[in-house]
Amino acid sequence: MDLSPPRLSWRAIAVWRRNFLVWRKMAIPSVLGNLADPMIYLFGFGYGLGGLLPRVGGVSYIAFLASGTVCASTMNAASFEALYSAFSRMHVQKTWEAILNAPVALDDVLAGEWFWATAKAALSGLAILVVVTALGFVSSPLALWAIPVIFLTGLTFSALGLIVTALAPSYDFFMYYFTLFVTPMMLACGVFFPLEQLPPALQSIAGALPLSHAVRLVRPLLLGEIPGNALTHVAALVATAGAAFWLALVLTRRRLLN
């Protein structure tokens, strides 16, 4: 098995641009789709449930939920792109196979896909950020620091998704990843309620998951505070993103270059 670290070249950009050109043809429905789902959750729970609740973490429930929604929708967009869309290009349309016949290495193809899924995820997260800012849930310019965190969150979940794609025999396989990993994180990592509500044993597990790190960075930033242990959370996301991409690359090489 080829365990060597990623060897990247500028050709990865050509792969990224290929996906961008496809996306551009249906950008409007794609952006609306990315926005509609998280917005329904935000307003449904934020106003509906929020009206019944006291202040959560010192702010109104919808303001609390806004930051969680930014992170969760970044995670979801990254996961869908790195799983379903990338798998279509790899396995169904054989787009990667065509690209590999040109002077482009598999490492470049995967890097192009990684950065593409990250871009789509960031677009989704940023769109929510713009909406919640417009609605007045963000007051401090510190919120600008959420932008790089959204990108980093996108990198992390895109790389994790590419691992699953490298192993998937068919689309059905992705159900396991969503059921066992994405949905539990949505519920346990502080998106809808503070992590501290969980039993202590679960708290430490949930707190170690990548979405928790993202939420612990984005939430204080949107509320105008400097996140505690910021470097630890950033380091955890960077390490997860890097290690996950490397593993995805090793597994994809094994799958396609044997």
Binding site: W10, R11, A14, V15, R17, R18, L21, V22, K25, Q93, K94, T95, E97, A98, I99, L100, N101, A102, P103, V104, A105, L256, L257, N258
Partner: protein, 333 residues
Amino acid sequence: MAPLGPAVVPAASQGACAADQVTMPGRGPGVLTVAGLRKSYGGREVVKGVSFALARGECYGLLGPNGAGKTTILRCCLGLTSAEAGEIRMVGEAVPEHARQARMKVGVVPQFDNLDPDFTVAENLLVFGRYFGFQDIETRRRIPDLLDFAGLAGKEKARLASLSGGMKRRLTLARALVNDPDLLVLDEPTTGLDPQARHLIWERLKHLLSAGKTILLTTHFMDEAERLCHRLAILDEGRIVAEGAPRELIAAQIEPQVIEVYGEDAPGWAAGEGKDCVRRLELSGETAFCYVEDKDVTPLMARLALHSGLRALHRPANLEDVFLKLTGRELRD
């Protein structure tokens, strides 16, 4: 970045042949050399020491039943998988070490179409050019020539779904020419096409040969190999079992004449009289294939005319006879 050639197909280079006939190309530096290639999957060796070389301007065919190792050999040549042993040089570069550099001057037509269904015809070429590092403006300049060559002139804005199978194949061929390659690698280029579409592809490939391109092709269509290939190798179970020009192979490997005997009585005739009077006879279903010398044709046809339950067809031996003799008649699935 390598500059693109002035046109897809330059005027016929010196010593090249006319488009409608294939002749032996002149000697030139090797475009592709494969020596002692070995490759196994899961402990089973699928390529067992294969060597061959392509001269510039030559069309070389790899023929073999399913599972003979044809596609694996192509993947090794392109540097998409590494072999356990052997040396490969393609367009002057060592593979797999410099496979990417080598692929700058190689065009590939894969076995299954992998065009981008979300793009128009022109976008498919434009985006593929970017993988070679070409600026869009350069590729755009070449697109009309490429489409003209592929018989798709004026189809720039056509959606992929509106193209027939033959048109898609020709677009795949045009895409393989986007970098003006020295070597074209074609994996079963006409599988799944109707006869009209196949003939058009063959005509285009002959045109490329006459323009000095080198072609490596796999096929299991014998007529395709006989028409296009200057030389070919017959592969079976990972080994080259015969190599040469189609006519030479037929002359060297097999009797020159074939009489096919059909009918319900054919198996009975083959087991009795046939076995006694024909030196080499093969039975497949209800057809007996008699492989004979020129002088034996007339007497055998006369004998067969006496049997009312038999029908006999005489024809010269062809590449398919050689192929079946060397690789057997059993199915390879």
